[in-house]
Amino acid sequence: MTAPVDTVGTLVGIVVVSHSRALADAAVALAREMVHEGGPRIEVAAGLDETTFGTDAAAIMTAVAAADDGAGVVVLMDLGSAVLSAELALEMLDPDLAGRVVLCAAPLVEGLVAAVVTAAGGADSAAVAAEATDALTAKSTQLGGATAASEAPAGPAADGPTITLTLADPHGLHARPASRLVGAVRGLDADVQARNTSTGSDWAPVASLSRLATLGGLVGHVIEIRATGPDATTALDQLAAAAADSGLTRAVRPVSGAPQQVWAQDAPVRPLGASPGIAVGPARPLRAAAFDFDDTPADDPSDEQARLDRARADAAHAIEAVRDHTVATAGADEAAIFDAHLALLDDPDLAGDAHARIAAGSAAGRAWADAVDIAAARFAALPGEYLRARAADVRAVGDEVLRALTGAGAPAAAPGDGVLVAADLTPADAAGLDPATVTGVVLAAGSPTAHAAILLRAKGIPAVVGAGAHVLDVAAGTVVAVDGATGEVLLDPTPEQADRFAGRAAERADRDRAARARASEPATTRDGTTVLVGVNAGSAADAAAATGADLAGLVRTEFLFLGRDDAPGVDEQEAAYREVAAALGGRRITLRTLDVGGDKPLPYVPAPVEANPFLGVRGLRLALRAPDLFATQLRAIVRTAHATPVSVMFPMVSTVAELAAARAALDAAIAAEGRGVPAELQVGMMVEVPAAALRAAAFAPHVDFLSIGTNDLTQYALAAERGNDAVAALADPLDPAVLALVAATCRGAGDDVLVAVCGEVAADDAAAALLVGLGVRELSVAAPAVAGVKQSVRDIDLAAAAALADQALRAPDADTVRALTAG
C-alpha cells in the first residue's frame, strides 16, 4: 500500500463525477486516507457549483485533462446524467486523450477507494478499473457473514458454504443442465463459483454459462460449488435442486443396471409428419451463412454498443419465439435447450468480452463475432464429444445476433445432399430448398400447418416437424431416416430399421409408378364421373413439373409482384402468364389476381398498417383500392386469354358487390384491349370467406366456377390462424364446420357452376373421396401430388363417396372425420 514517490508522474489519474460536489469531495477524502504519500491525481467534476446538484460534460473534460499524466484516466461516476455527461465528455475530448480514458461502472465510493489504491501501486488503467469494479465483492463477502478477513482479496477466493455434485448425466455438465444452474443463481446476491475437483480445474463463476461449461465436467466427475454473500445458502440450495431436477446428479435420476440410453437410439417422441415421402440420408444440420458485417472501427463506441444491445435483444426475441413454440408443441423439457441459448446470450463473459472489444474500437459485428469465436473455441477444446459439440450452441446464438445485426436473411443449409436438420424453417428458408439436394427435412419445432410445411409439400420434400430439440444435436453425416407420412424419424438406424424404411419406400414407389404411368389419363371415378385434377403453380417451373395435370387450377400471380420496388407492366405480366401456359402445353391456366395484404406489403402499393391484416385490406379488397395496378393485371390476363385458354379468379371475395366491381374492371380491360371477349375466357372467384360459402347461390349467376381455398376458409371458419402454433391444431380443414361450408358452396353453385378445391386438403389422398362426395369436381394440388390424386380419384365410387360425405358432415369433430376417411 505504499506509493513510490518517484513514479507519481506515471500513475493513472482518477476523475470523480457526481451530482453533488460535497459527495465527491468527501469520497475523495476517504480514498486519500488509503495512500499516505503520493498517490494518483484525483480530479472532481461534480455539481454545477458548491451547492447545485448537476453534472457538466465540459467540467468533466477539464478534469480528465488535468488528471492525465500520460498513463490514462479512470472515471468513476454516480448515476444518471453523470454517466451521460461523462460519455459526452469522452466524445468531445481529443481522440488521443479519449483513448486513454476508461469509464468505469464501479460503485462510486467502494470503486474510488479501490481505484486509488490500485493506481497508487502503478497499475495500468484497465487493472485500476477492474479492481474498482471488483470492489463490491469484498463488501458482499463481508455481509455474507463469512469470516473473511478485511484483507481478503476481492474475487473468487473466499470462504463460504460449499456443496459437491457428482455428475450422473451421461453427457456430463452440458449446456441444458448448466443453463439451469445459471438460472438457479440469477438474481441472487451471492458470488457462486464452481470447480471440477476431478480435473483440478480453476474456479469459474456459476453465473457464466460459457465459463461453467469450460469446467469440462464429464459423467462421474465431482464438481465443487461454493458461495459467498447474503444469499449464499439459498444459492446452494437452489443449485442442488436444479442439478437434481435436470438430471445432472443422481438424486432424482437413479441409474438402473442398464446403461442409460442416448437419445439418438431412442424412438422419437411426438414428431408429426408434415410432407409425405421417405428419405434416408446423411444429416445436414443447418449452418448459418457467412455474415457480411461492417468491419470499420466505430466512430462512437457507445453507438456500436447500442447496436449490439439491440441485436442481442432481437436475437433473444427470436430464440424465445422458437422456445415458446417448442414448449407448446413438444413440452418444456424439449424447450430447455433454447433456455440454454438464451442464457448464453446473457452470458456475462461473452457480453463483457464483446463490450471490451467495442470499447477498444471494434465495430459491433466484429466485436461480437470475435467474442463468439473465442467462446466457441473454448468449448471445442474441451474433453468429451458432447461438450465439444456445445461450441455449436455458442455459434448458433452468435449467428442469431449477427443476423439481427446485419439484417441478413435466413441461414443456408450446408452443402451436400441429405436430410436437412434445423430448429425451424421460415417460409423463406423452405422456399429456398432444392429438392434435388435436400432429400428430407427434420425440424425440432414447426407445425404441419405452417407455411414452411406447405412449401415443403409443394416441393415434394418429405418432412417431419416437432421432432424435438435433441435432433439439433445430430452430427453432420449421421444417417437419418425420415417417414414424412407417419412422422417417424430415426437417427443412425439399425440395418433392420433401414430395411423397413426401404421396404416402405419401395411400396410407395410402386404406387407412384403406377400413378405416374397413368398420369396423363383423365381421372374418372369407377362409375364414370370425371374429376379434373389441376396443379397449383407459383411459377412456370411448378407448372412444368406437374406431370399429368389437366390444367393449372391456381396460378399464384404474386410471384411476379413480390420482392421488387415497382409493379410489373402489362408486357412483363403477359409474358410470364404465357410462359406458365406454355409449360403446361397450352392447357387451361387459372390466373388468380394479386392476393396480398398488410402482412406482405408491396412497396408500390400504399397500404395502412393493420392490427390484423388477415381481416384487413387483402386480396380483391386491395385490388379494388389500387385500380391502376388491378387494371394493368387484368389487361395482361385478357391478352393472355386471347392466346391460350385462361380462367381468371378473384381472391378474398366477401360480397356480391365486390364481385360485380371486379367483373366491371375485367369488362373495362376487355374493352380497352378492343378485341372482344376472349372465346375461352372463364371467370370465377375464390371461396375463402365463410360469408361467400354460405351465399354461394348469390354469387353463382355471375361466375363460371367457384374455387374453394380451404386453407383460408379453414382459418376464417375456425378463427384460428394457421401460422400461430398455439391454435394451429384447431385449423383442421377436415373439421365438420369446414366440410359444411364446402357442402354449402356445392349446393349453392348448382349444376352449371363447377366447384374446385385448391387448398392443401385436396392433396390428402384420404380426403379426395370426401370432397368428391360433397360435390367437388376439380382438385388442384401441388405438382408432385397430381398423379397420386388422380389415382385416388380412380378408386372412388360416387355413391359410396356421397354416403361418406353425409357421415362426415354429421361427425362430431375432425378426428372422427379422419377416421372415417381412413376406414
Binding site: 451530482h19 455539481g47 454545477l48 447545485t52 446538484f53 448537476g54 453534472t55 457538466d56 460534460a57 465540459a58 467540467a59 444518471g80 446524467s81 451521460l84 455527461s85 460519455e87 459526452l88 466524445e91 468531445m92 462512437d300 457507445s302 453507438d303 447500442a306 444491445d309 439491440r310
Partner: protein, 212 residues
C-alpha cells in the same frame, strides 16, 4: 419569403423562442417531472436556456454551426440533469450537420435535426416507446422529412412536424418508462406525460413559429 429556408436570424429566433417557451412552462415541466422523476426538468432546462440567451445576447454568432455549438456547450455546462448532455448533444450534432453557413434550406434544416436526433439516440440509448424525448422528437423528424419530400414549404412542414411531436408526446402518457430516473418507478410511471417529450415538442413548435 414563404418559409422556404431559414436565415441565421430566424435560427437564432428559434432558440430564443424555445427559451421563452421553457420559461413559460417551467412549472408545468417540473410538475410533470415531479410525477415520475426528480422534479427538476423545468428548473434545469430553464436555467440552461436562460444561460443560452445570455450568451447569445453577449456575442452574436456568425454561422449556424457557431450558433448551435454555443447553444450546445452552454446547455452541457448549465443544465445539470440528464437533459444537459441530451439537449447538449442534440445541438452539438445540429451544429456539425449545419456547417459554417448563414442560411439553411428545408432539406439542410431537416438533415440537421436528424443528426441531432441521432445524437440523442447515441447518448441516451433510447428507443421508441421508452417514454423519453425520443418518442416526440423521432416522429417529428420523420414527419418533417416526409412533408419536405412531398414538396411542402419548410414552414408548413414544421407545422406538420409539430403535430407529429404533439401526437408522440401525448402517446407517452400510457407508457412505462424504461430510461432515466423515471424507469425506477416502473408501472407507476404509467398515466404521466413524459417531461422530456413535452419540452422537445416545444422545441419543434418553436421552430415552426420562428421559421414561418
Amino acid at each position: 419569403m414563404g418559409g422556404m429556408s431559414a436565415a441565421l436570424d430566424q435560427l437564432t429566433d428559434w432558440v430564443r423562442r424555445f427559451a421563452v417557451a421553457v420559461r413559460e412552462n417551467r412549472d408545468e415541466l417540473t410538475r410533470l417531472d415531479a410525477a415520475i422523476g426528480d422534479a427538476d426538468h423545468g428548473i434545469n432546462l430553464d436555467r440552461g436556456m436562460t444561460a443560452v440567451v445570455a450568451a447569445l445576447d453577449a456575442e452574436s454568432q456568425p454561422t449556424a454551426a457557431a450558433l448551435f455549438k454555443k447553444v450546445g456547450m452552454t446547455l452541457v455546462s448549465t443544465v445539470g440533469g440528464a437533459s444537459g448532455p441530451l439537449y447538449g448533444t442534440f445541438f452539438l450534432r445540429v451544429a456539425t450537420a449545419s456547417g459554417e453557413v448563414t442560411e439553411l434550406d428545408g432539406p439542410a434544416f431537416a438533415k440537421a435535426l436528424r443528426a441531432g436526433l441521432e445524437g440523442v439516440v447515441a447518448r441516451g440509448k433510447a428507443e421508441a416507446g421508452d417514454k423519453t424525448m425520443f418518442d416526440a422528437l423521432a416522429p417529428a423528424v420523420d414527419a418533417l422529412d416526409a412533408a419536405l419530400a412531398d414538396g411542402d414549404p419548410l414552414a408548413e412542414s414544421l407545422r406538420t412536424a409539430t403535430a407529429a411531436a404533439e401526437a408522440g408526446r401525448d402517446a407517452t402518457i400510457p407508457l412505462v418508462a424504461r430510461k432515466g430516473r423515471a424507469s425506477y418507478l416502473g408501472e407507476r410511471s404509467v398515466g404521466h406525460q413524459d417531461p422530456g417529450a413535452t419540452s422537445v415538442t416545444m422545441l419543434v413548435a418553436a421552430a415552426a413559429d420562428a421559421l414561418a
